[in-house]
Amino acid sequence: MSVLTRNTRLTVEYADDLRLFRSRPAQTGAVLLVAIWLALPMLLGDYWATVFVYAGIASIGAIGLNLLTGFTGQVSMGHAVFYGIGAYGAAIFADRWGLPFPLWLIAAASVGGVVGGLAGPFALRLRGNYLVIISLGLLVIGQHLFENWTSVTGGLTGTAVRAKVAIGSLDVAALSLGGVRLSRNQGYLYFVWAMVALLGLAAHNIARSRPGRALQAIRDRDLAAEVIGVSQVHYKVGAFVLSSGYAACAGALYASYARYVSPLDFSLFLSIQFIAMIVVGGIGRIYGSILGAVFLTTLPRVIESVSGSLPFVSADGTGGGLTVQSLNQALFGVLTVTFLLFEPLGLAEMWRRVTRYFKSWPFSY
């Protein structure tokens, strides 16, 4: 037996790179996450449950954008439109067509994906700043349709949504666990985060396999990628389909949870938030998208809850100085700037540094 026994912490062959959970700690981590997922809804009150449901929904949208921006290098400010398509899709497929649960979600996500695919060709023709502003145009057109296509979207006043997440008698809004009825928010917390896990793993699998590498090749040098046989048309459009599908899925979940959607929901600010999430979380890392989404959705709420002890800040602005929301808005700006300047790879990189430190302990390199 050689001294070089197989160490799971070291990557010694290519197959190791492809494995889903590379090491013992990663496997333990996965188990831990499942445990948290099981426990958290029981520990959180309705409010924090709501916050984490929105964080989960945002995570799905952010994963989608990361596939496009992080892996393929295409920046889009139109993400909110696809999110909106998914939301209205849920209203139409579930409420008007009466499709049952998994079907309305799949249908809504598919419509988002198809429309995203139609936007793909623009990306083949344009790059950089110009592509960004084209996607801004897409957003403006999308909003116009949301506001004016009244028969489909309910127009300016929006539409109520009933899209239920229920298979047979199993309704997420009315789960019971061991005889204890769960609240709607608790049920959705379980469901949404199960979806995050599912879609996160799916994205992870795409990213670490052939299509993922193709996308990254396009991101790094599109011409070179083409030369080695990676079809730009194929993969760029594919990335748009995938990313928009994720956004639409998130939007459909949002509609189902919020039960009311209006054109105001799908604003430029939402698109910006998605970009900020992947920047803060980590461009090109699937779990980074989740970290970023959770961080940016929960941080304002955390700041609100500690605002009582902050100077110059009051909850309602009556005491003079900043309101919490102003602080949060400014902080959103400051945070994204700070991350871009000082930690461009985001929270994911910070996490990696921490784990690397422990992996190589006691050596500091």
């Binding site: 145009g137 403006v140 004016n148 970009i275």
Partner: protein, 297 residues
């Protein structure tokens, strides 16, 4: 016919405001390669600053000049503190950072001036002239004149002044420029200062008369985006041409499209400039006047 002339004038005036904002986009883009999403924040800050100075009984022209100075300083400060660190960052970085700056600027304004509508107190008010049945708003004449002056100024400045030549040099080849003693950093600072000055001029025209200043003034920058792209992000002539085209298209579609094609939905004039922009982009990916980027694979 009178109506058409009236619309034409309105379109030119609106286009001139867009031109001023687009010029600011172009100046910053040429010097730094950054699309400046925070321009709206500078516009609203500039308008508030002018309002404040007028409220302090500073004569109007002086108030605008002082506000321009202050806003230019704010622009340069932004460049110095934030944008300078951005060299070599990807596209989304510059977008997010300037958006971050926009949010901070907006919150700065509401913290300083609150949320109430403030009447600017400019000398034009709602005065008008009449010419062959067409009403000419005095403020519109000044708007058009200002953007024409800005265009000529930039055109001559870039071509003949030392600073302009230095700016062009730094934009086309920073290293070579550096070797000739041009500091790209100084150039970038100056570009942001100019963006601040242009913002004040645009802000004053937007908020003049009975419109007043409030946070919504900053939204004009988003409306001007298609104009900047249409003209080409790196062309001063393009900025003015794009601004005028979008101004005219917007007013004309509100005038003729909205009443005649109700199936397009209400307020289609908001969307048409973007559709026009996308159409032009597909034919000319770098705008009407922009320079195509030469890339090495």
């Amino acid at each position: 016919m009178t109506d058409f002339a009236q619309y034409l004038l309105a379109g030119l005036a609106l286009g001139s405001v867009y031109s001023l904002i687009c010029l600011a986009f172009v100046v910053v883009y040429r010097a730094t390669g950054v699309v400046n999403f925070s321009q709206g924040g500078l516009v609203v800050f500039g308008a508030y600053a002018t309002y404040q100075l007028i409220a302090w009984r500073v004569p109007f022209v002086l108030a605008v000049a002082l506000a321009a100075l202050v806003t230019a300083a704010v622009g340069m400060l932004i460049e110095r503190l934030v944008l300078r660190r951005l060299v070599g960052q990807p596209v989304f970085a510059s977008i997010l950072i300037t958006l971050g700056v926009l949010f901070v600027l907006e919150q700065l304004c509401t913290t300083l001036w609150g949320y109430n509508l403030r009447i600017l107190g400019d000398p034009w008010g709602v005065r008008t002239l009449a010419l062959a049945g067409v009403t000419i708003k005095v403020v519109d004449l000044w708007t058009i004149a200002a953007s024409a002056a800005a265009l000529i100024g930039f055109f001559l400045g870039f071509r003949y002044s030392r600073l302009g030549i230095a700016m062009r040099a730094a934009a086309s080849d920073p290293e070579a420029a550096l070797a000739h003693g041009v500091s790209p950093q100084m150039i970038q600072g100056i570009a942001w200062g100019m963006a601040g000055i242009l913002a004040v001029v645009a802000g004053v025209f937007i908020a003049s008369g009975s419109r007043g200043v409030d946070l919504t003034v900053s939204a004009v920058a988003l409306r001007a985006f298609p104009a900047a792209i249409l003209g080409g992000l790196d062309s001063t002539e393009g900025a003015v041409a794009g601004g005028l085209i979008v101004g005219l298209v917007e007013v004309m579609s509100a005038a003729y499209l909205t009443p005649n094609a109700p199936w397009l939905g209400s307020n289609v004039h908001v969307v048409i400039p973007y559709i026009l922009m996308i159409a032009v982009m597909l034919v000319r990916p770098y705008g009407l006047f922009g320079t195509a980027e030469v890339r090495r694979a």
